[in-house]
Amino acid sequence: MLELEDCSFTYPSMRVPAFRLSGSVRWKCGEVVVVSGECGSGKTTLAKLISGIIPLFEAGVFEGDIRINGKLINQLTPEERIKLVGCVLEDSDLHIFTTSVWDEMTLGSLSLNKDAEEIAGQSERELQSWQLLEKKEKHPLELSGGERQRLAIASIMARSPKIMVLDNPFSQLDMRNRQSLREKLIKYAHGGNNLVVLLLPEGEQADFADRLFSLEGGELQPFRPHGDVHSETLQRSRNKSQPESVVLTAESLEFVYPDNTKALNGVNLEIRKGTWVTITGENGSGKSTLLKILAGVLQPQKGKIWLNGKDVKGWLTKERARIMQMLFQDINPQVLCPTIWELSILPSKIVGQISDKSRENNLKKCLESSELYNRKDSDPFNLRISERQLLLLISLLFAAPLVLLLDEPFSRMSRREQEIAALWLNEFCEEGGTILCTSHGGLPIRWHDIEFRMVDGCLVETEMTKK
């Protein structure tokens, strides 16, 4: 059981509390509690407070009481506390510690005083149920984004903590995996008499919760439904002009990773100028792989790519990047500069774009509308992960390529951020730019003109394309 009473927590660099609660809440075992809120409303802070990451690893001023099973948290040692609380944070990539899925899975159970056989048996069953068993000897960083997120959750749940806190655990999952995670969590709470606290972005399905709360500007309060703008899909109205020339063609692309995973199995693609194409597909179907190949990061074993009607074979990477830029799914390796400003102009600097006043003004406007401009000299790692994603998108737009490859660009963003980004991208399209973006589904934004589906390394057309 978890009780919070008159709490507030303030980070050293901020004047207002990042999390605040007046009054008290009691969350009992056997419940699924959903706390929904915008990005930056204090969800991660709440997760860190419950799990003890604050104050163990992050400083700040905390006031109020948190009780776990009736005991004040400062009466518990860190070991006792973490035995009761399992926590999966949003940026779970940073919490990988081993070099194989199997070791990662067993890692959490090692401290539970079970013998090795028992842990091995249990881990095998768990991996099976998360559909990761056949990948058990892979390096965790070799998994696709959704597989990695499942692994992060599975490895903590295997410790069977009484309280399970999950920060935005659905962000990288496709529809099927979302549903199965929901069922797993409900079963874990109701069947095992445990408490599950889910911190979800606004607009994420939450009807399965036993209790609903919202976080607004750091304030925890009972749930209030918002306007129904959020439940429906944003649609773009576009006037289709006559067909344009083809910018990007791919022919029978095949790709096998060095560990012999066949990720692409003959992909054909043809994209016309000024269109927005979305590729949907389940986790691990090969979407990211396809984009990386188109961007020239991976070399396909078979197949050809044409850009603007020319075979890209033998091109310099720079020539290619002048035409095409890619936003990768993993955010952190893309943060290559010490300040926000430098990061936002880096891609255009690399391809040698001359920057003029009007373009720079445009960049400033973008940064301002996402509230990044006034922090332009600070470290990008101080930003939330969604803001980092937004910033990277801005930097790519500033490099003004003809084609943008975006790998799950909206997955980490809140509704508001998604809308901002979609507006920019729409503008980019209107000016003749071409977008190829991937999505594991479940996103409310459908501004694309054409949709493909990726199934086991092959592209298939969907209803929308045929129209």
Partner: protein
Amino acid sequence: MGCPSCGGDFRIKGMLFYFSERSLLRKINPCALLSTLIMVNLISFYVSRGVVIATMVLMIGSAWVSKLELRTWRLILPLMTGFLFIITIGYFFFSQISSGVMLWKYPWGDFVTTGTFIAMMDVALRYLVCAMATVLFLANVRESELIALFQSLRFPGLVLWTFALIFRSVGLLVSDFERIIEVLRGRGVGFRKTSLPEGFTLLRNILWAFMVSAFVRMDGLNQTLYLRGIRKPITPITTRKLSWTWLDIGIILFNLLIILWFLRN
């Protein structure tokens, strides 16, 4: 273990290289492999040239059976070349080997004879054998097996954890580094044709990104250990167990005998 989508031959990412699970060397226990590595490194400087060459041939053979990719060798090529270069310089300019015909003398007193060349090749060959043995070893063991090995040898917890932290963070950092390079390539950085100032900015970006990712990783590491309830020197590190066969024990005994014999002489 097979995987349906890859036709059965599943390759695994080891510490630095990919290796095939079907490789013959994988059938040998890491402990036996380690003892062989130590043995080869120790004796390669004492045995006659013929034996060294035989060892080399043997190793090329085992690289063949372990289906080691050529790519693997390419990775260590720069290191090896650098090493051979140092040896060459050392022998060429700073040695006094008096066998053979005197060729020329330097003002600082060192000289070169025909014997210098032979000695140089000899030493280079021996180092090459050591390097190859190390690569073969690294290419066929993964770090969790090494840790399991140390765990089964009952190393104290502190040593185990130090090993584990080093091995694993190096493994992760290497992967992070690869991902950074991927991103840079996507952004249009060609690593072949860059001018000097461009190269400089590039280097700065890589270093920065790498440092940050290392820093962020290390920061995450402590949290990870905490979140999984691990207390550093106390909790065991791996559930992996080594499998032993008579072949392994035979190999170890054989290596031990040779090592002892050489130490006595």
